[in-house]
């Protein structure tokens, strides 16, 4: 977005992309406002990505910084991979929202405030010593002081609504202003309002009036002399919907179970930021889903193991602290060789850490975090919508290879959302169950598929296959308890080899770039959007920089070494102290593997990454 507004004349400017951030009290409806703006923009044809910024406190006192809820969206006529570094337009509904969100506003950008909320009491509550509208705090911004509350009140006069309901409509006034500013139709939001308040026509009318009043107000005032056009992006044809990472994860798991004709069993204990997967799955019990809110994290994973053992799709979902508790049980699934999906929605740590903030520091616990030689398949989603694909793949890998799969997502993916061209179940890859072979006598539970080394899934209830398994070391083939030294070594190596061979069944790494670059940027998981944007922008500026992004952590894609070997410098960027870089260094000694790390509970910024990459390209 351009830095200056054209004064005096009503002009329309075209932009490639723009970032808008809505911020207000948790009760102000900022999430709704943001998602309505996103939906309307998606219908208009923009590509976009969104990210909500909730307070950790459930209901912090009104007007305080702790109680501020934000929603950021980036829309574009070009491909959009992140919600954007900084907001070109910040809507701040009160002083606290301004206080906590000014850091996210771009200098030279627009700030729209509800000036009715900037009274002494609120200013003080927000922690400002003096009035920020008067003390020069906002000198670097184009500030639009709009009397949003009073104009909303005026617009709703005559409706039989109490003051609280009237004040709750002021978010629609702000949204109306944004719709004018970005030349958007009010139609979809009006439809949404009518539907939402079907039973309370006065509220429907009130919200529609506020929306229109905001639109017309923006048109009239001089402070907003220009309006902006973000033309539609060239987006692949098809039917789209918005999806968040947690919802996509839930649906991917359901899709896999339906594909298999099996039930999905979720054992889960509530934990931020994973609980929304439990909530979403709990709504779909008509689709063969069983959810059990277990008594603790351990019961959650153990009940999932029981369900898998008994022939359904057993899944447990959690975040770091819960994954730590599940370690022993995951080891049991490794040892007994039963399928299991463990979803880890990573958050800041250690210990309770930063529950609502994102981090990528669970790669070590996922790959190594169990006693003894206990290999698990580890995969990572990289966008909110591909959480669907990787949840589906987690089930597929667990069942086809008869071993636990840990799916890493993170708080940023979990709560972020984007438009998604959703697939049909028929187009998803088949999932092949290892059916037990008929025997003429004793059944051998640890007989293996010669290619994958996976054993068969012989489930209780099947006549003639009665057998015993467990966490004790077992004799190859028969599964009987065995303490034989040679057998133990053989079994440890077999379980490791089984997981290593998964590399034959996963896609190879795709390099983005020409291959003649001297710097290879490496990422994994949720940082994809930021890394891709930064690399692409530099590639467009003719910098010699390439990029690979990992969705498969253990085992690694087969062509990893082949790609890495070509580069003088490999820069692994991750939101931790360098866990993936360490893993890569141990697998590929001798290569120049460097790290760029950030541990602030926040995603990478594109500007920050570009600066880092340019510095690396200089030496």
């Amino acid at each position: 977005m351009d830095d200056t507004l054209v004064n005096g004349t009503k002009t329309t400017k075209e932009l490639e992309k723009v970032v808008i951030r809505f911020a207000g009290d948790s009760g102000d409806g900022m999430q709704l406002t943001g998602s309505q703006f996103s939906f309307t923009s998606a219908l208009w044809g923009n590509d976009l990505a969104t990210f909500p910024d909730f307070p950790a406190e459930i209901r912090a006192p009104q007007g305080t910084v702790e109680g501020v809820s934000g929603f950021q969206v980036q829309i574009g006529k070009i491909d959009i991979y992140t919600p954007g570094d900084q907001a070109d337009v910040l809507v701040a509904m009160n002083p606290a929202a301004l206080k906590s969100n000014l850091q996210f506003a771009r200098k030279g950008g627009n700030i729209i405030i509800d000036m009715d909320a900037f009274v002494d009491r609120n200013i003080e509550k927000a922690g400002f010593k003096t009035n920020p509208l008067e003390d020069g705090t906002l000198n670097d911004y184009n500030v639009v002081e709009a009397p949003i509350s009073s104009l909303t009140k005026a617009a709703l006069e005559g409706l039989q609504l109490d003051n609280k309901s009237i004040m709750r409509s002021k978010n629609m006034f702000a949204l109306g202003m944004m719709y004018w500013l970005f030349d958007r139709s009010l139609k979809e939001t009006e439809k949404y309002i009518e539907d939402k308040f079907r039973k309370t026509p006065a509220l429907a009318e009130g919200n529609k009036r506020a929306l229109n009043a905001g639109y017309h107000y923006a048109e009239t005032i001089e402070a907003l002399p220009a309006r902006y056009k973000v033309p539609p992006a060239s987006i692949e044809k098809g039917v789209y919907r918005h999806v968040s990472g947690n919802t996509a994860t839930a649906w991917g798991l359901m899709a896999a179970a339906e594909k298999l004709g099996k039930q999905l069993f979720l054992g889960s204990y509530p934990i931020t930021p994973a609980s929304d997967i439990l909530h979403e799955l709990s709504r779909h019990k008509n689709l063969g889903v069983i959810t059990m809110q277990a008594e603790d994290e351990i019961a959650a994973v153990c009940s999932a193991i029981g369900a898998s053992y008994a022939g359904q799709v057993g899944v447990t979902t959690s975040s770091g602290p819960g994954i730590a508790l599940k370690g022993e049980a995951i080891g049991l699934a490794v040892m007994a060789e039963v399928p299991l999906v463990v979803v880890d929605v990573q958050r800041g740590g250690p210990s309770t850490g930063l529950p609502t903030k994102t981090e990528q520091a669970d790669i070590n616990i996922a790959v190594y975090g169990r006693n003894s030689e206990s290999p698990a398949i580890v995969i990572a989603a990289s966008t909110p919508s591909n959480c669907f694909e990787f949840a589906y793949r987690a089930v597929k890998l667990a069942i086809e290879h008869m071993t636990p799969v840990i799916l890493l997502t993170d708080g940023y993916l979990a709560n972020g959302s984007e438009p998604w061209k959703f697939p049909k179940l028929a187009d998803l890859p088949p999932i092949k169950i290892n059916e037990p072979q008929k025997t003429n006598g004793t059944y051998h539970p640890y007989a293996r598929n010669p290619e994958t080394l996976a054993r068969a899934w012989a489930v209780p209830g099947t006549t003639g296959l009665e057998h015993r398994i467990g966490g004790l070391e077992k004799q190859d083939l028969t599964g009987n308890v065995s303490y034989d030294p040679q057998n133990h070594e053989k079994m440890v190596r077999t379980r490791a080899e089984k997981v290593a061979r998964v590399a034959n069944y996963i896609p190879e790494l795709e390099r983005i770039g020409t291959g003649d670059g001297k710097l290879l940027v490496v990422g994994w998981g949720g940082t994809y959007g930021g890394l891709l944007t930064a690399v692409k922008e530099l590639q467009q500026a003719n910098k010699k920089i390439d990029f690979v992004h990992f969705n498969y952590i253990n085992p690694l894609p087969k062509n990893t070494q082949q790609i890495f070997e070509k580069y003088d410098k490999i820069l692994v960027c991750e939101l931790n102290m360098g866990q993936f870089a360490s893993l890569l260094r141990s697998k590929f000694p001798g290569l120049n593997i460097l790290s760029y790390n950030k541990i602030q509970g926040q995603p990478f910024l594109v500007t920050e990454l570009k600066e880092v990459f340019i510095n690396h390209l200089k030496d």
Partner: protein
């Protein structure tokens, strides 16, 4: 699963339930007679062998599934009830048995133990209570009496013990029975009874560890104590015991007392009649708490009430939700709500 192997259905015998594995408990261990009672009980239930699953955690008792020729899963310490819950929910037609020792059930797995009972999932938990840790070679357990000298309590245990029945009732358990490893007939009867109960059945077996806590239950099980210190309760029967069945339990105010028929004008009318089906667990708790030297120990089914099981509740809920559902497949779900088309 479709890929089943046809075996002609025949009346199953004790032998059909015995696995080919060498049983490796210590000679003289009470577990042998529990195993034998189980293989006696199962043929009486007419459940196909493939529908029987034994789940266990860790401990001497937890080796039990290896010795049963059924499906079996030896899991991790204390977590058996959670695994068993997943198994039962995944396939409610299975007869799920969960084997625990006192440490497994009430120390490391205490949480799962009470929550299985609270949910009332239809599984059968057999609790082998020997009041000691056997597999780890002799430390005190959460049921060890205060003062017990063990390897980890060389000066005697300073902790107060749990009583399984109190946890069962505190967790709103629907079935509690107690038996002893020296009475195979009673064990078999109770196992059959527990299997037929809908909901979580908790059978506490007073089991003897010959190595680390020998004769822990001798006050009840010793030949010379049987008559005076065992009270075999049966629903609808008066609570009588003793060599000639002359002693009985009377409710005096809010307390139980031992009385003798014919003494001080006591007749059978004064004797409490056992009502295992009473919703109110107060008397069940009082009976379960009786212990020598002042009382006999109650054996048999002390509490058996019918309440909706967790698996039934899940099935009911699903039926209700499915009836009103607007979509019936993931494809339909993805298409529901706000979608748009890019042409």
């Amino acid at each position: 699963m479709e890929n089943t192997i046809d075996i002609p259905q025949q009346k199953l015998t004790k032998k059909d339930f015995e696995s080919d594995q060498l049983v490796r408990w210590c000679p003289g261990c009470g577990d042998y007679s529990i195993l034998s009672a189980m293989t006696n009980a199962l043929p009486q239930l007419n459940i196909p062998r493939e529908n029987v699953v034994f789940i266990s955690g860790i401990g001497c008792a937890a080796r039990f599934p290896y010795y049963m020729n059924t499906y079996g899963f030896h899991t991790i310490h204390g977590r058996g009830p959670a695994v068993a819950t997943g198994v039962k929910l995944a396939n409610p037609k299975l007869s799920v048995w969960e084997i625990q020792g006192d440490g497994d059930a009430m120390a490391i797995g205490g949480n799962h133990f009470i929550h299985a009972l609270r949910r009332n999932i239809d599984i059968n938990i057999i609790l082998f209570n020997n009041e000691i840790y056997g597999l780890t070679k002799g430390q005190y357990s959460p049921t060890s009496p205060t003062g017990l000298v063990t390897k980890s309590t060389p000066y005697g245990s300073i902790e107060r013990p749990f009583h399984a029945a109190e946890l069962v009732i505190g967790a709103q358990g629907t079935f509690y029975a107690r038996t002893i490893d020296t009475n195979p007939k009673l064990m078999t009867e109770i196992f059959v009874h527990a299997a037929k109960h809908m909901g979580t059945s908790l059978v506490e077996v007073l089991q003897n560890c010959v190595i680390f806590n020998d004769d822990a239950h001798a006050a009840v099980t010793a030949r010379e104590n049987r008559d005076d210190f065992q009270l075999h309760v049966k629903h609808g029967q008066p609570l009588l015991f003793g060599k000639e069945n002359k002693k009985g339990i009377r409710l005096n105010g809010l307390k139980l007392e031992v009385v003798t028929l014919g003494e001080n004008g006591i007749t059978e009318k004064d004797i409490l009649v056992h009502d295992a089906h009473a919703e109110d667990p107060t008397l069940h708790l009082m009976l379960a708490r009786m212990a020598p030297p002042h009382f006999p120990m109650a054996l048999g089914v002390i509490r058996e009430v019918r309440a909706k099981t967790y698996d039934e509740a899940i099935a009911e809920e699903r039926e209700k939700i499915t009836k009103n559902a607007k979509y019936h497949s993931v494809d339909d779900l993805l298409k529901s709500g706000e979608t748009w088309e890019i042409k």
